[in-house]
Symmetry: C2
Subunit: 481 residues, 2 copies
């Protein structure tokens, strides 16, 4: 019990100091590590395995829509980065520059990719000649570098892992449809696999991607009421195509510019999982994405037959396709419970001499700590059902929390007070003027999160929350990671 | 027919100019592409999909031996690279240096990882305290950079993809066992999945990895008789541990240094597949690794019912787990045959009106062009069997070719003549002196490939092929990629 307590005491309470709680969970669940490389993180096995499951799940969904994976160079020559004006202004201040190759200074310096639009454009310019070459639906999984000053594990680091999809299309309509398709794919993935509800919408011009015509986003709400932009999908129109000269001969024998999109998700998602689902005992992983879904923990494991029975339960679950481990280390059961809870494994199975005698075992949910006694003969089916139930309940709980933290404001005073006092999204009308966005940010540190697809109606007579002029848009505001 | 011929004519004959043939195949099979980034290659979908299959297959085998994946930073501070003396001498001349982060010069420059021993050591120093923390069996999939002057797709480029495994153990014996285990895992993977026979052996001290105590290698023979080092596994002993101070408290309460290993395979393997199996019609992919294993090609596809029947065959194969495509483009069947052969898909299925009437279709092997007429009702089982047969035959053919290109030499004159006239491995005895290795390299451009595990006996009275002194080792020589 003392040992048990000790392990738990090392985490700060979530509602006491959310930032410190986050740091503690990341560290105690052994998701990341540190090296001498400032601002860069190590993904340890427990952290990387979550990313592998995210990657595999997303990749499968991408491929089902016809996307193909490629790998592009990690370096971008300075002249190539400079081709599209908005793009270079957006990224040049935060890239890492390679100036020496071996012992020789480079004739032209190169940055380590902060994103690869320019490289994909460079390739597409060569590879796209005719309408027969379209669409191009490429994606790559890689790491990118942005020279951040302050960093936090998963949320902001100088190097992070992501995927970046880059597509080229014959028409504007097709590009727009693909942009929305990928945003919805992202949203469905978060809701179905990560149990994170999202608001789908469009970014304002102020917040859109450097070089994009339109940026769409999914916004998730963390437990502390701050928003996290969890994925974005951009319609570039033909802006990059014109800057790079990507033209094709269409069926009507006319030379036309392609229309492009790009879309990306990053290892930030791991931060989102932690901050949406975690609690005072540590990490809570949604079953669909958990590298280990269940731990079998023997009680009085030196008693005759217990370890064998525990191993048998593990094998039964593994055979049923459940990602399961047996903790047969020489620690106490209490220590093992705390350890399993800290690491966020969605359920555990306890089996002791009395259980064995009764032909049963105890299933314990990580999320609610509810216990379920089941016959050993039915343990695989019961565990599979329980994991699905946990997945569903985690999503519903996150949705209820999110919905309880969407606030309306009648006037600007109420807006400012809400921003100050009530964590969450604030839903208002907006005139569409960037000046109001800037004022709101200055007054409250809230930024525009998105103009939602649903809940988008602007009734007759609606007014901008900031300036009071006639409203053009429904919009969500929030403080964000 | 004319169209057909045109496609094939664009490849140089393999035995006429092997290097040009290789370049042609890489280009025409659309494995790689070029961008403005000098010395770096683009992995196009057809090339990257091969790597994905290699990665997935290897990763599964790694994990079955207890290996866990991690991800380390891509940057290495100069001071960290310099900790181990031999290591820095081996790599410093060929690394890319980052000197600016954003607009600011860095206080300490950092290289883009050429390999990550130093980073893993930096992590292990922090994470290993007790025998309970051992072994560490970490691996990462990433790209690395070496500033090569001359480059060739897959074989040598400034950036390439690989995996690097890094393990730490309590004892020298355990480290040596892991080193050999991983080498054998590599060898089995090449033989079973890539259909490439290898010679397993140990590198000489001259050829071993910078910082290693012993390097083991698998050496494959390309169709042109040149060798390719396909994978290496290194035993570091406690050299890195001493340089980095990686110590643990053992069960006997003594502070000890860990023993480490590392092992890697790269996208060179794709080059090996091309050069072992390819022919005058293009790429030939082993079925186990081929992203597309079979193409269904309709003959007279506008005839009634043909496209439906072809699609039905595709669906039947897909359901049976075969990676299959239907080519229903508006090209001629002859063009499609050439295209399938160029891309190396292991088999195709032809189906025309007469076949359909007879309830049959035609299976054509890519490797031998043999045709097999089978009832449509049995097409899935027949295709699965045929793919296994192709895999087996490709391996046997490569092994026969390899075995027919291992030469013995009675004296140094015969050695030099063999090196000059007969492509392949030359098998000799050797005194163990680096001076002889140097002389042989100077006289013949042959390098020592390995001291084989099998075929290692040195009989009484055996002499060094170069200096004539008593021999210490059996050794294979060859010209290499």
């Amino acid at each position: 019990m003392a040992e048990n307590k000790k392990l738990v005491e090392q985490i700060t309470a979530r509602d006491e100091d959310f930032a410190q709680w986050y740091t503690d969970v990341v560290k105690k669940a052994e998701l990341t590590g540190y090296t001498s490389v400032k601002g860069c993180m190590v993904f340890k096995p427990a952290g990387y395995a979550i990313w592998e499951n995210i990657r595999n799940g997303l990749d499968k969904r991408f491929k089902e829509t016809g996307v193909e994976n490629v790998y592009m160079p990690m370096f971008i020559p300075e002249s190539l980065l400079q081709v599209e004006k908005d793009h270079v202004e957006g990224f040049a201040p935060e890239v890492a520059w390679v100036t020496y190759g071996g012992l020789q200074p480079l004739q032209e310096r190169m940055c380590v990719r902060p994103t690869s639009e320019t490289l994909f454009c460079d390739l597409y310019r060569k590879d796209i000649q005719s309408y027969r070459d379209l669409p191009k639906l490429y994606n790559q999984w890689c790491s990118v570098v942005r020279w951040e000053k302050t960093t936090r594990p998963f949320l902001r680091s100088r190097e992070f892992l992501w995927q970046e999809g880059h597509t080229a299309h014959a028409t504007a309509e097709e590009a727009e449809a693909r942009t929305i398709q990928m945003l919805n794919l992202y949203a469905d993935f978060l809701e179905e696999e990560l149990a994170i509800p999202v608001v789908r919408g469009r970014k304002t011009d102020k917040e859109k991607f450097a070089g994009a015509e339109a940026t769409y986003t999914i916004e998730a709400l963390m437990h502390d009421g701050k928003a996290l932009q969890a994925g974005t999908s951009h319609n570039f129109g033909d802006g990059f195509a014109k800057a790079f000269g990507i033209q094709f001969l269409d069926k009507d024998n006319q030379l036309k510019y392609v229309h492009q999109t790009s879309w990306g998700m990053t290892t930030r998602l791991i931060g989102a999982i932690i901050m949406v689902h975690g609690d005072d005992s540590g990490l809570v992983l949604p079953p669909h994405i958990a590298p280990t879904q269940c731990v079998v923990i023997p009680i009085r494991q030196k008693a005759e037959g217990i370890l064998d029975k525990a191993a048998q339960i593990r094998d039964t679950l593994a055979k049923a396709g459940i990602r399961v481990k047996l903790d047969d280390s020489d620690r106490s059961p209490g220590w093992k419970f705390s350890d399993q809870e800290m690491r966020g494994f969605p359920m555990r199975i306890e089996i002791g001499p009395k259980d064995m005698e009764a032909g049963q075992c105890v299933l314990v949910r990580r999320d609610t700590r509810e216990k379920l006694v089941v016959p050993i003969a039915e343990v695989a089916a019961a565990s599979a059902d329980l994991l699905e139930q946990i997945q569903k309940d985690m999503f519903e709980r996150a949705r209820a929390h999110r919905d309880a933290h969407i606030w309306d404001a009648a006037d600007y005073e109420e807006f400012c007070r809400t921003a100050d006092e009530k964590p969450g999204f604030i839903r208002t009308y907006w005139c569409g003027d960037e000046a109001c966005e800037n004022k709101i940010k200055e007054d409250t540190t809230c930024t525009s999160r998105c103009m939602p697809f649903n809940d988008s109606e602007v009734p007759e007579g609606a007014r901008c929350i900031c300036c009071g002029r006639p409203a053009a848009k429904r919009i969500y505001w929030g403080k964000a990671y």
